[in-house]
């Protein structure tokens, strides 16, 4: 009881905190917290950029940033949960009878309040980040509209076809000039498809008799994969095509070569 | 209800049974209400979307009253 009394006599919150931290289970949990937080930080900063495809547009960059930074921000919270669980796991009792009862903690008001407040805070951070990104995107789409390259995208079972109304060419690959915004008007000839130019980081469903719109700002050159992201029947897995984001010169050459063959890509 | 001499089954009081049954029926009414909501939602949503001009437009009826008699199609 001596320790107990000296705790009671400790006058300052600071002293109480340091006594708390010196407790063996707390310090071990803290070490585990550092470990798990580090794992998630590495996951965010190293693994996601490694797995996610080449960034060819502002939108893809924004997506990658969200994956990286949401992982890093959630790392300490994940760390708290996992460290407490791991510490408990390492403290296990084996045997045919239960261990003696633990401490009768029914609740802890401040802990519940701090926990709830922290999760609300993270929630608000995530919401604000998302809303700002959404808003930026819709403003950009609106201001870019006059100077956008327009591509009409049609999904049909099971091919993608593209029509560039400004150049009057029909194609089956998606080539785009770098540094020029592009507006996709997407429609389906039959069932729902989902237009997904992967490296551009945009996606929009293709619906019958309704046009949906997506907007992208390509910022780097490179090959482009276009996939279908909505199960559309038998050959959904093969409903893919390719393309590229290329320099304006290369793009214009590509357009001219198609116009020379009657406006339809061979 | 028959009252067998051997097989006494404990029956709760009529009030308790009544309370229980009223609650159960009210829950089923909630389910039915959700069903009805689904149908009403379908109607108003499709009417509002008016895909492919598939639902009559109000302008169609009004414009039929124009002097030149040329209705606009949906």
């Amino acid at each position: 009881m001596a320790d107990h009394e000296s705790e009671l006599l400790a006058p300052t919150p600071g002293a109480r905190v340091s006594t708390f931290l010196k407790r063996k289970d707390v310090s071990q949990t803290l070490l585990l917290w550092v470990f798990f937080t580090a794992v998630f930080v590495v996951l965010g900063l190293w693994a996601y950029p490694k797995w996610m495809p080449v960034v060819l547009s502002k939108q893809m960059q924004a997506n990658e940033d969200i994956m990286i930074w949401f992982t890093v921000i959630s790392a300490p919270i994940a760390g708290v949960v996992l460290s407490i669980a791991a510490k408990s796991f390492l403290n296990m009792h084996r045997g045919d009878t239960p261990p003696e009862d633990g401490v009768a903690i029914r609740t802890n008001g401040p802990v519940v309040i701090v926990w709830t407040a922290t999760s609300v805070l993270f929630c608000i951070v995530a919401i604000v980040w998302g809303l700002v990104a959404l808003n930026t995107e819709s403003i950009a789409a609106a201001t870019d509209a006059p100077k956008s390259l327009i591509v009409d995208v049609t999904g049909s079972q099971w091919v993608w076809s593209f029509y560039y109304p400004q150049q009057n060419i029909h194609t089956h690959t998606l080539n785009l000039p770098v540094n020029q915004p592009v507006t996709f008007n997407v429609m389906s000839a039959d069932v729902n498809h989902s237009f997904w130019p992967v490296q551009l980081g945009v996606k929009i469903d293709a619906n019958r008799l309704v046009t949906t719109v997506a907007h992208a700002d390509p910022t780097a050159t490179g090959p482009l994969d276009v996939k279908c992201a909505e199960l559309c029947g038998l050959y959904h897995a093969y409903m893919e095509t390719s393309g590229a984001v290329e320099s304006p010169t290369d793009f214009n050459n590509w357009v001219s070569s198609i116009q020379a063959t009657g406006g339809v890509q061979q | 209800m028959a009252h067998d001499t051997e097989f006494h089954v404990h029956h709760d009081s009529p009030e308790a049974i009544g309370r229980r049954e009223r609650l159960g029926v009210r829950l089923l009414i909630v389910a039915d209400g959700a069903f009805l909501f689904g149908m009403i939602f379908s109607y108003f949503y499709l009417r509002n979307l008016n895909v492919n001009g598939g639902w009559l437009q109000r302008e169609f009826i009004l414009s039929a009253l124009l002097p030149d008699g040329s209705p606009h199609s949906g």
Binding site: M52, P53, Q59, A62, I66, M67, F70, S74, A78, V81, A85, S88, H93, P98, P99, D101, G102, V103, A104, I105, R106, T116, S119, I127, G130, L131, A133, L134, V191, S194, V198, G201, K203, D205, R208, A229, E230, L231, G233, L234, Y235, H236, A237 | M1, D4, F7, H8, V9, H10, L27, G33, A34, F35, G38, M39, Y45, L46, V51, N52, G54
Partner: protein, 621 residues
Amino acid sequence: MTTLSHAPASSRPIPNPKKSLITKLNMGTGIVVGVIFCWGTYFAMKAGRDMTDSHNVNKVLLMSMFAWSIGFLIGIGAFIGPFRWLIGKDLTDEEQLYLAGDGQGWKRYFKYCTDHKVVGIQYLVGVMALLGVGGTMAMMIRTNLATPGSHFVTPVVYNSLVGLHGITMIVAMIIVATGPFGNYIMPIMIGAADMAFPRLNALSWWVLFTAVPVLCSAWFLGGIPTGWTAYAPLSDQAGPGMNAFVATIIIFAVSTAVAGMNITTTVVAMRAKGMKWNRVPIFVIGATISVALAIPAFPTFMVAMIQTGLDRTIATGFYDANVGGSGWLYANLFWIMGHPEVYVILIPGVAALMEIAPVFVRKPLFSYNAAIAGFAGIAGLSVLVWAHHMYMAGWMPSLNGPFMVTTEFISVPTGLLFLVLIGTLWRGRPWMKLPMLCVYAFIWNFLIGGITGIYLSDVPADNYLHGSMYVTAHFHYTLMGAALTGAIGGLAYWFPKMTGRMLNERGGYISFWFIQIGFNVLFLGMFIVGAEGQPRRVADYAHLYSHANLISTMGAYSVGIGMIILLWAIVHSWRSGKIAPMNPWGAKTLEWTVPYPVPLVNFDQPPVVTSDPYGYGRSAK
């Protein structure tokens, strides 16, 4: 009034109402009548119809399937009570006792038995069968995806596997905890003699039973081309197998509504004396909130499916854009159900683990009120988030922001669930048994599932992630890693009370590690290929994704092995496991105060409750 339970079983008169039809009816007669109705409807409707017209094929098949279900229910005697009411009578006391299965041994499991304990076991076996079928399909899916360019199955079969695996598992997961434990254990836990509506209890099980052959018939009718979400207009276009899906859902929705209403009424109206709301075990609260959420949710799914059925039979055009319909209507109706439904799946599993943790850590449940706030908050918010499944649908981009807000906010009550569990673990010494292991697995799995859900709920990130394998990994972490793990923990925990025997420990541990390690390998690999850009529901994929897919498949086989070992452990223990004492875990809830076999009316005397069941622990300090 004397109740029979006071008399020892050997001296109790066995009910056998000789003149009553109910003694002759069972699953066998149900199947006979069901088949007769089915074939009768099929041939009657086929006559005079042009069966090359797909609308006619759909009409005939759908009606035959419903006829099977209704015929089966007639044949097993489900409607005898209502029929008697029509003529101003009801079942006699002797008939009611007969229906409760008194004195019938194993046969009562194959009859229309109103004893909630029998219904619980029926659900347990049914769930295991569904998991087995769905799991086999999953093994076939992963085998096909082991290498790119594999033709283990054709694309037609693959797409059907994906859709049917999905719906089989969703049905299985909806009932995996509330079916066996909500029925068997819950009434005992609240000190009741049975459920509020015992005959409806039997009905909900047998209605579900009739849905299973209907679902399986999809395979013989050409499969389905859609996922389990059965999006329109692909579902309108689909072949005859789609009718099996439509009929299954409509039948299943009836079962769910009835079961939901029964469980909710039981908990509200039949708790033992002294069991105030703040003394109700958390599993009961969780199960009740879950089924109460299901009551308004599933009817909208039913409407969505009825409209699909109407499109397919009489060309109504609800989802046909050519005539003013829209696939978006389907998506909205579906997800208004679909999102609450995933919490219907999740909450009972978590609640079971919250019931388990205090027992094995010998500490009170941390912040019972936070647990309730968590469940209630999740249930309440879940009806406001559905369109996050449709961010990329283009249906109303202006609503993406508001749905993002509501969806992100669900992480707050969800976080409370974590707090309750880790608060219970804190400063405790856990007794390492299989139920407790499941708590740890849950924490790891649900953490990953929850955090990845936060990414998906963010609209810009969802631009990339929607429709990719990342989504598949996320929902398997939550539905399987969290909810199924909770159900397995619940089974290990309540096995002694449901079977009278202890679950084989070594088999349990070995299966646990095969399942959990395999599960994580399987779905972490899937997060990787999703992040790399592999779409979901694809029979084949680019070479870029081959390594991670192969590793995923190996994880899947480990899960399969683990499940088989678990099945062996369950069957072996049920037949010849160690006889369990009345309260092997030293738990404090009411079900551990009754012996096995549990008496027909559960308690000799109705219990009186004076405290909540979490009174563990020595005083602090």
